[in-house]
């Protein structure tokens, strides 16, 4: 999943982290999702969360399960404001929230 997003800043403290992220409109995935109508694929955003969690936890995080993932806002690369990804984790649970401006875009609770 190359070239899908860019981390603008990251702040990792204890068992929490905040990333500011830009979705890249040049990403080849938008040729297929969807032709002439670029919309960030929900599954790509799950992978983006996993990659940021791997940075925050300083190990390759694997998703054993997703207890709940809600997509509340369509994200279009280049038009949406930079995203804010908030992560927190304890034992085998990782929680993530993705905000687009002041709108909640994604809520995710996974087993890692």
């Amino acid at each position: 999943m190359h070239g899908y997003f860019r981390i603008i800043s990251e702040n990792i403290q204890g068992q929490q982290a905040v990333f500011h992220i830009e979705l890249l409109p040049s990403c080849p995935v938008y040729a297929g999702h969807f032709p002439g109508n670029p919309i960030a694929p929900g599954a790509c955003n799950i992978e983006m969360v996993r990659q940021c969690a791997s940075i925050a936890l300083q190990r390759e995080v694997r998703i054993a399960g997703i207890r709940l993932c809600k997509f509340m806002k369509l994200l279009r690369p280049g038009t949406s404001e930079p995203l804010t990804l908030q992560l927190s984790w304890q034992d085998d649970t990782l929680s993530a929230a993705v905000m687009s401006g002041t709108d909640m875009a994604i809520q995710l609770k996974m087993n890692i």
């Binding site: 999943m1 995935v29 040729a31 969807f34 929900g42 599954a43 694997r62 054993a64 709940l68 369509l74």
Partner: protein, 138 residues
């Protein structure tokens, strides 16, 4: 109504295209159950380090559900979105060359919202399960 769709014909059912088309074939489909297959190739969008990533299984299941919804719509397939995912489990990541077979069943449907339950297997081994709510754009 129970049909099969080849690789090219799938484009009649779903709007996703390369590089993020995540179904190779529709083995059977009717209004309530769809069975699909995906072979894990290194060209896959969600392929990484010898495996298909967890998110690849999510997208494959979502597109399988979309294929079933596409059956009901004449003409160009409508764009669909994942609304939510519950109880997604992964027992292991599919490896290069393995064939994933998925069975997605409708458990509830209300206008443009469809709730499905999915199982993905490699041979007889269950590798992923999920419940998903999928929306169709009007």
């Amino acid at each position: 109504m129970n049909r099969q769709y080849t690789h090219e014909q799938i484009e009649q059912l779903i709007p996703q295209r390369a590089p993020i088309k995540m179904i190779d074939s529709v083995v059977s489909v009717d209004n309530l159950i769809v069975q699909t297959a995906l072979s894990v190739q290194d060209t896959n969008w969600f392929f990484s380090d010898g495996h298909l990533l967890e998110a690849g299984l999510v997208e494959h299941i979502a597109q399988s559900a979309a294929a079933m919804m596409g059956l009901k719509n004449e003409g160009a397939p409508k764009v669909g979105y994942i609304g939510d995912i519950k109880n997604f489990t992964v027992s292991r990541l599919p490896r290069l060359g393995e064939l994933i077979r998925s069975r997605v069943t409708v458990i509830a449907q209300l206008e443009s919202v469809t709730m499905v339950e999915a199982e993905s297997k490699i041979d007889n081994e269950l590798v992923a399960t999920a419940r998903m709510k999928v929306f169709l754009a009007e």
